[in-house]
Amino acid sequence: MTTDTLVPFAEAMERYEPVIGLETHVELGTRTKMFCGCTTLFGAPPNSQVCPVCLGLPGSLPVVNRVAIEYTIRIGLALNCAIAGWCRFARKNYFYPDMPKNFQISQYDEPLCTNGWLDVPVGDRVVRVGIERVHLEEDTGKSLHVGGATGRIHGADYSLVDYNRAGIPLVEIVTKPVDGTGAAAPEVARAYVTELRDLVRGLGVSDVRMEEGSLRCDVNTSLAPRGSGRWGTRTETKNVNSLRSVERAVRFEIERQAAVLDSAGRVIQETRHFHEDSGTTTSGRSKEEAQDYRYFPEPDLVPVAPSAQWVEEIRAALPEAPSARRERLQRDWGLPEAEITALSNVGALDLVAETVAAGASPDGARKWWLGELARQANDAGVELADLAITPAQVARIAELVAAGTLNDRLARAVIDAVLAGEGDPDDVVAARGLGVVSDDAVLLAAVDAAIAAKPDVAAKVREGKVSAVGPLVGAVMQATGGQADAARVRELILERLTGS
């Protein structure tokens, strides 16, 4: 593998203007597959959720899953799209072992939803991302290539295919080209996917778990000299399967393409693969030698013609949009808009809302998710939502802090323990004896011992030099193993020495 020359991002942005576009695939959470009655549960033994239809056996025929159509319309409406009154599925023809029929039933020039937009909060502003189309198709099987260096089919010793995923309904959401974002392009890309994920999750049509592949992204990036008034040749980066990766992939492609253009080279229109470990992309198949998919209307299916009445029923039942929700939460919590946006951008808004719903104060919930937990997630290189702690557990910790049972240091220890799988916060506190020592009798004994051990310090305090009390507080805290409320300890010492 050749190592690409890169231009540092900031430098690239001085000379070039990026245009990005995103194609996002969302596996719908229907109970059954797109064209047959097989279940869609994730993680079943290979090839245990298959039938003649999703295996593409000779003679089998597809029948459209009405719920999948409804879910797609729901997404389309939430993205402000027009819903087609009549449209057809099309066959996309190409040979690959994980495609049972060697064609994919998809949509081509007649997508179900077209021409919408999504408002995406980025920093303190909102970027409106245009939506070109939302269409429905079937997922392929999953290949496992064994042996070989690349993990791809070429060079593998053998390949295994699991068709459980074949035929799961897949919605493809394609943006219009997003230009004018400048150096914010990587951030905009990430914020768009975050917003889309939250929107789709809120619609209840998918669990949108990137780690299970139920939300997958292809990121298009192109670069043109600033002020040139034209767009450059784009690359399509596949396999971008986390929010962080979306941002990194755009950033990397900008740095790589800038170097190509700097050296008077030509960016090749091609598919590139993103590598999670290195944050780099490598060349896949060139679009210029790409195959002809020979699309034509799927003759095994009748056209889909959702009635206007049905579409309006679906529209009326749409849940609150994330942007409206953000406005409501901002009012309810009394937080500045920038705070809400920050929460949203790091994918913490849902978590904070759930934590508040579980009993924490908005401030407390926000503090823990954006502070300690964000740090932990960052260290572990995972998304906040993927941390092994629930909003209910965080709420309980915030509650214990508010009640004085835990101080911040103890709370962090409880978080560590919960993340380590030691159980709920109350279990951890009980098992480790982590509660704040709030029994004044116990504390007074420690205070008296500290005064006796440091008579010179005590004398200074008695003389009115209150600021000298620190070493005494420290001694008490040490004696109680840190499980005391330092403010209360200070009060008790001053009471003892000055009578106030």
Partner: protein, 499 residues
């Protein structure tokens, strides 16, 4: 009593109900006939003797137990090898599916079993239903019971030959461009292409999805109607299946009355390329219908002349995609899997060796017609022609109740005569293709022997979609009058198996 194999399905049904014969005896008689003649006819690719007898035993037991069974219970039926069948191979006449045993039954297979019909075996066909002679079968051609050196038509030639050779009273085929009606015509039996969507395609290995239509063969119009009714009706597993009542085909076949019916003779389906004896028998049949009280007029369908070229773009386009799944990965033939070649090479080698010449020709033609830059000129244009043909039919059916033409331009041709001339072979479906493109219903019923070669000629009747019953009214009227004229059923004159 008549020899069991010479009895019609309706006669067998009555004899079974009356307890004059058992399903086991009927089945055994047909298995014996197959054993005696199929070495020469080669109608079958697979004879399911054991399962047929077992099925017959079950029917006999149920009847003894007093159960009320349908009209086809205990009646043998042969099934084209394009329908999936649990417990029997399904090859589609292709090497590429050799050894494949489908794990599921086609809807029609299931309906036949539910009706108590005895499936005696799977019949030969042109590979993947592409052809008009069965010469494209990877397993060798079937032969015409009228003359064993001639083709039995195709692609459902095995089914037609089986019925004409008294190996089964009934058979199932599929019609994509004429694959039921053309073999029925040249074998001197009855065959119907129902309205598209009237009979389920689920479990029919697809050739051209927008055209493929399963349908029945019989030696009489009534038998054909009985089978037509048994296999028809809405199937939720086939999105293109029509959710409407089955047209009353059996009642129409029993009625057989054409008085007052308006019959249109399609002037565009005659003239050059048509065998004189075919045209004369057809003209006599039309006169006969007129004498029975039908009002006959001439009707022009000017776009029918473009039906054949449009068909040879649409059908190959769909087949190029439908047949992509035969890639050696999951079932059927696998060539060259030596642990060194990669998947792509194994796919290519398997398809190279597994498909015959005609199938490859159509896949290449179809892939070309669908390819970027050519789509509009070929596939797109062909679809426009299809619309014009539908309009021709609409205009015609605004004036008449049914249309008639010869079923084929010629009688059965000798085996080998057109094997190397695809265009000549394609012309065999000249009259039948328009109904497939329009998706409406049509039947072929024997109307005599061409004087020049003594081979059967078919009268082709076409009706609007979902008016399948009209076909049976006309065909039954013609059959009754003609049989009266001949003194006995036409098929009794077939001499191919006498020697």
């Amino acid at each position: 009593m008549t020899e069991l194999i010479r009895m019609t399905a309706a006669e067998l049904s009555a004899a079974l109900v009356n307890g004059e014969v058992s399903a086991t005896e009927v089945t055994q008689a047909h298995l014996d006939r197959i054993a005696a003649v199929d070495g020469r006819v080669h109608a079958f690719l697979h004879v399911a003797a054991d399962s047929a007898l077992a099925q017959a035993g079950v029917i006999d037991a149920r009847r003894r137990a007093g159960e009320a069974l349908g009209p086809l219970a205990g009646v043998p039926v042969a099934v084209k090898d394009v329908f999936t069948t649990i417990g029997m191979p399904t090859t589609c006449g292709s090497r590429i599916l050799e050894g494949w045993h489908p794990p599921y039954d086609a809807t029609i297979t299931r309906r036949l079993k539910q009706a108590g019909a005895i499936i005696v075996g799977k019949t030969n066909m042109d590979e993947f239903a592409m052809g008009s002679s069965t010469e494209n079968s990877a397993y060798g051609p079937s032969r015409n019971p009228w003359d064993l050196d001639r083709i039995p038509g195709g692609s459902s030639g095995g089914s037609a030959a089986a019925v004409a050779a008294y190996e089964a009273p009934l058979a199932i085929g599929t019609d994509t461009g004429g694959s039921i009606r053309q073999p029925a015509a040249v074998c001197g039996i009855v065959g119907t292409k129902p309205t598209y969507g009237g009979s389920s395609r689920y479990g029919v290995v697809a050739f051209a999805s927008s055209l493929d239509t399963p349908g029945p063969f019989g030696r009489t119009v009534l038998d054909t109607a009985l089978l037509h009714e048994a296999i028809s009706g809405h199937d939720p597993c086939d999105s293109t299946s029509i959710d409407a009542p089955v047209p009353p085909v059996v009642a129409a076949a029993r009625q057989g009355d054409v008085s007052g019916m308006r019959i249109g003779v399609v002037t565009d389906l005659s003239g050059e390329g048509y065998q004189p004896g075919v045209l004369s028998r057809f003209a006599e049949a039309v006169e006969l219908l007129e004498s029975l009280g039908a009002k006959v007029t001439e009707v022009s369908c000017p776009h029918f002349r473009y039906a054949l070229p449009a068909y040879y773009l649409i059908a190959p386009s769909e087949c190029s995609s439908n047949l992509a799944r035969f890639d050696a990965m999951r079932y059927g033939l696998r060539v060259g899997d030596d642990g060194v070649r990669d998947a792509e090479e194994v796919m290519a080698l398997t398809r190279e060796q597994g498909f015959g010449a005609e199938v490859k020709r159509r896949i290449i033609l179809g892939a070309y017609a669908l390819s970027s830059g050519y789509y509009d000129a070929y596939y797109g244009k062909a679809q426009q022609v299809r619309t014009l043909i539908i309009r021709d039919f609409d205009a015609a059916f605004a004036q008449v109740d049914v249309l008639v033409s010869p079923a084929t331009p010629t009688t059965a041709f000798p085996i080998g005569e057109r094997a190397d001339d695809p265009m000549a072979m394609y012309l065999a479906d000249l009259c039948t293709i328009p109904s497939d493109l329009a998706g409406n219903a049509a039947i072929s019923v024997p109307c005599g022997l061409a004087p020049e070669d003594g081979l059967p000629v078919g009268l082709h009747v076409m009706a609007p979609a979902l008016a399948d019953d009209r076909l049976y009214r006309v065909a039954a009227a013609a059959e009754a009058a003609l049989t009266g004229h001949w003194g006995q059923p036409l098929l009794t004159q077939a001499r191919g198996l006498d020697s």
